[in-house]
Every structure is written in structure tokens, then in C-alpha cells.
Symmetry: none
Subunit: 248 residues, 2 copies
DNA sequence: ATGCATTTGTTCGTATGTATG
DNA sequence: GCATACATACGAACAAATGCA
């Protein structure tokens, strides 16, 4: 019910400090004080412009600053949102999905997207050290933390080397337990290759991320204690909700 | 409906992902994995069409994509050639820019984009373990391999802890030598955090990458042998020309 | 599938204040 | 005083992404 120009919020007039900077500070204090819930939506740029009695450009300049500081994220067509704490994916030799999530005090869950046998493409074959076209088992899994999707993982297993892996995956619906069932009590990450690319429409929908945000795209090779390759995985994580951290 | 008798290579069937895109990914993995030598010639379009069991038009669409990404170059009447600037960035405790480039048999060079003193933003302050607003020196550098830009790095140094770092950087125009000059004979990478985001127009122009391709965005903390933080760095790499590889 | 409303992203143009020489 | 450069701020219009009916 703001009348046409009247009820602009009083911003502390400070000598020489730019308007947009004072607006950024005002919003920052609301965020860090907890007055705005993490993940919550900020008012629209137009609404903020009305509230502070400035042009939309000025608000945008302030939001840009907050975004640069990582306090908010801005999504075209949707709005601006208070940043949630990001999930660091600590890459270590023995990183497991559910342990990762629980270390962040969230509840891991998941959904099997696909389970089938197929012939290795050149990429998968080279990752597993098999010849092109060898039989592999694909286990595709959507990972969630507190119900929010945070990863799509495609796990490839050498069918010949791991007899019964298909049935084990169907029964267990989880990688670590299925590997245990076929005699792999433990496995280690040998290498991780990280790049980024834009999501396909399906990936964006599954991960509940805008199509304009890149995915982290990680290829892993896992070996058993003897050094034999037991799995080749391709995982996709939505940025900036997930970040990959290497700590030697 | 497989082609006339020939054994077409199995391509990972992914829901809704176009054929040409999957072919492009297959070729991309062969290139970045090093299975195809840099500068080497790809099979002819006809040969690729036969291998994947598709029409030559479909292969051409895939090659066009790879060319746009800078992974190959196509020369009329001669063939397609693997680009020579695809680099794996192997993350180790003592990764140095010029050594990284030289390990790929390229000539490292660089250009200083900026050198100035400023007050630490919250992100930089937390990376360096300083209080907000402490004086830091920013050294911004464009890295090139054989003349092609492959990184933008922003190096932040604690001004109070490293007396004379500003002058050392101005004189040496390089991080390692400047640190030597202020008494840091050696430094180690403590942690690396990787995420991805879209480039700004300036970043895209500097890195000679399309604005539609994400950047890998890496934050590093470097410490001296006593464990004191001496540098906080933010590096931006163009995908897929650069990939980050972690091998424990 | 299509169109519409909402919201952010981009690009014009204009005006003002401040610092510099 | 004057010219110039730069940052700030406002206004308008359109483009692009999203969500919904």
C-alpha cells in the first residue's frame, strides 16, 4: 500500500557512501542476522526498488554485490534467494555418498533411475580398462540430501569381472552394499577428473536446478585393495549447491 | 535398423540426448583422455559415420560442436585434427603454473592483469584467515600455453604478514619468485575447492572461450612449510579445454 | 503443446556530482 | 573557469527464462 512516491524506507544518509552500497549493507544485515531464512526468496527487484525508493538498476547493483559475496544467488525468471550453505564434496580415497551427506548433518536418500546391462562405449571402456563393447552393468542413481536432489551418478561395473553384480545391485539398490555382496569388501578412489558443462533438460529437472547453471561433471575410477578396477563412475552435481574439495 | 551389416559401436542410450551430442561426447572423451594424440588426425567423416552407424550429417554436427568447443579444428580437403591445447590440471601439493604447462610440452607465458592493494572481502578474509577488511595485495594474472589463454588467476596475499610483497610482485611479475623474494622459499597447496559458473563477458574475451561454456572456478589456499597461510588464489579455467584431475 | 504473466538480464539514453589537470 | 573522465543514479524498452493455466 505504498503511495506513489512517499513511503520509501529511510536509508541512513552517510557521507559519500553510494546508495547501492547502503542498500547492499541493509540487505546483508537482514541475511546474516537470520531475519531472512536460508534458501528463502528475496522480494523482487521491483519491490526492493519501491521499498528503498530507488531505481531498479540501483537495487540490481546491490544484489550483484551480494551475489559476488556469495550471500544470495540470483536466478533469471525466478528471483533472488538467500544462499544456503553449500555441500562440500570432500574428495578422499574412501568417499561414500551416505557418509558424505551425514557428515553435513543431513539425511541421505536416493532413487534408482536405471539398472541395466549394456556394451561399453569407448569412454566407459577406457575408464574401466576394458575393450570396446565389453559387457558392463550400469547403475544410475539420484542422490538426495534432506529430500533435495544433489547428484546424478552413473556407475559402471565390469560384468565379466564382477559376477552377480547385476542381481546384487537389484537387491541392494546401493553401490557399496552390492559390491560387498560380490566379494569387494572395500574399494578406493584412484582418480577423479572434474570438468563442467550445462545440464540437459532431464538433468536440470532431476536435480531441480535452472538450466542456466552449469553442472560439475566428475569421472571417478575406483579400485579394490589389489588395485583392480571395480567401478567407473560419472557423477553430476548442481553448482553452486555442491562444490568439490580436494584436501590432500 | 542397424546399418547394412556393419557393427556400429554401442553408444550409451540416454533419454532425450541427441545422437550427435552423444557422438561428440564419445569423441571428446577420447581426446581429453589422451587416447588421441594432440595434433593428430581424426578418422574421416565417412569412417566415423560407419563406426557409429549414423549418417555423415550426424557426424558433421558432432564435429561442428567439438570445433566450437575448441577441441578440434576442421580443415577443408584435409581432415579434422585434435586441438593442441587440451590440458589436464593435475592437482598436487606443489603444482606451479609454468611446471604444469611445461609438463604438457608447451611454452608457458603470462600477462599481469592487475596489481593493487585493497581491503579483504569476507571471502578473501576467510580464505586467508584474516579479519574482514584487512589489507591484502591482489595480483591478477592471465596464463597462456603456447600463446593460448588457459587461466585467469587472482592471487591474494596478506599485506601485513608478507612485507614487501607488493614491490616483489611488481618486480618479478610472478608468484613463486615474488614469494621467494619475501622469504618464502617454498609453499604447498593446502586445499582446493572446485565449482563452476558461467563466464563474465570480460572473462570470456580474455580466455577466448564462448560465453555459453562454463568456467571451472578453483579456490586454493597455499601455506608455507610452517603451515602459515601465505596465499589465497582464485583461478578460472575454460572448459572443456582444461580439466582438473585429482590423483592422491 | 500454447500462450500469458512474472521476474531477471541487457541495452539504449539521460543527467548529475566529483575528481583531475 | 573549463574540459575531460569516471562513477552514480534514473527511465524506458525489450530479451530471455520460468511457472502456470
Amino acid at each position: 500500500m505504498t503511495p506513489t512516491g512517499a513511503a520509501a524506507e529511510a536509508l541512513l544518509a552517510r557521507d559519500g557512501v553510494a546508495l547501492w552500497r547502503r542498500i547492499a549493507e541493509a540487505l546483508q544485515s537482514e541475511i546474516v542476522s537470520g531475519a531472512r531464512a536460508a534458501g528463502g526468496r528475496l522480494p523482487t527487484e521491483a519491490a526492493l526498488a519501491a521499498r528503498f525508493g530507488v531505481n531498479r538498476h540501483t537495487v540490481r547493483r546491490a544484489l550483484e554485490e551480494l551475489s559476488r559475496m556469495g550471500l544470495i544467488r540470483v536466478e533469471q525468471g525466478r528471483g533472488s534467494f538467500v544462499a544456503e550453505d553449500v555441500l562440500d564434496y570432500i574428495v578422499g580415497p574412501r568417499t561414500r555418498f551416505s557418509e558424505w551427506i551425514r557428515r553435513h548433518n543431513r539425511e541421505p536418500s536416493g532413487r534408482v533411475l536405471d539398472l541395466r546391462e549394456e556394451e561399453a562405449s569407448s569412454r566407459v571402456a577406457s575408464g574401466l580398462g576394458l575393450r570396446n563393447g565389453a559387457k558392463v552393468v550400469l547403475f544410475e542413481h539420484l542422490g538426495l540430501a534432506d529430500g533435495r536432489p544433489i547428484s546424478i551418478a552413473s556407475h559402471y561395473f565390469p560384468a565379466a569381472r564382477l559376477r552377480g553384480i547385476f542381481e546384487a545391485l537389484r537387491a541392494e539398490q546401493a553401490v557399496t552394499r552390492a559390491l560387498e555382496r560380490v566379494g569387494i569388501a572395500d574399494y578406493l578412489r584412484q582418480s577423479t577428473r572434474v570438468t563442467a558443462r550445462m545440464p540437459t533438460p532431464t538433468e536440470a529437472a532431476l536435480l531441480e536446478t535452472p538450466r542456466s547453471r552449469p553442472l560439475l561433471y566428475c569421472e571417478n575410477v575406483n579400485v579394490d585393495r589389489a588395485g583392480t578396477i571395480v567401478e567407473f563412475g560419472i557423477a553430476r552435481y548442481p553448482t553452486p549447491r555442491v562444490q568439490v574439495v580436494f584436501e590432500p
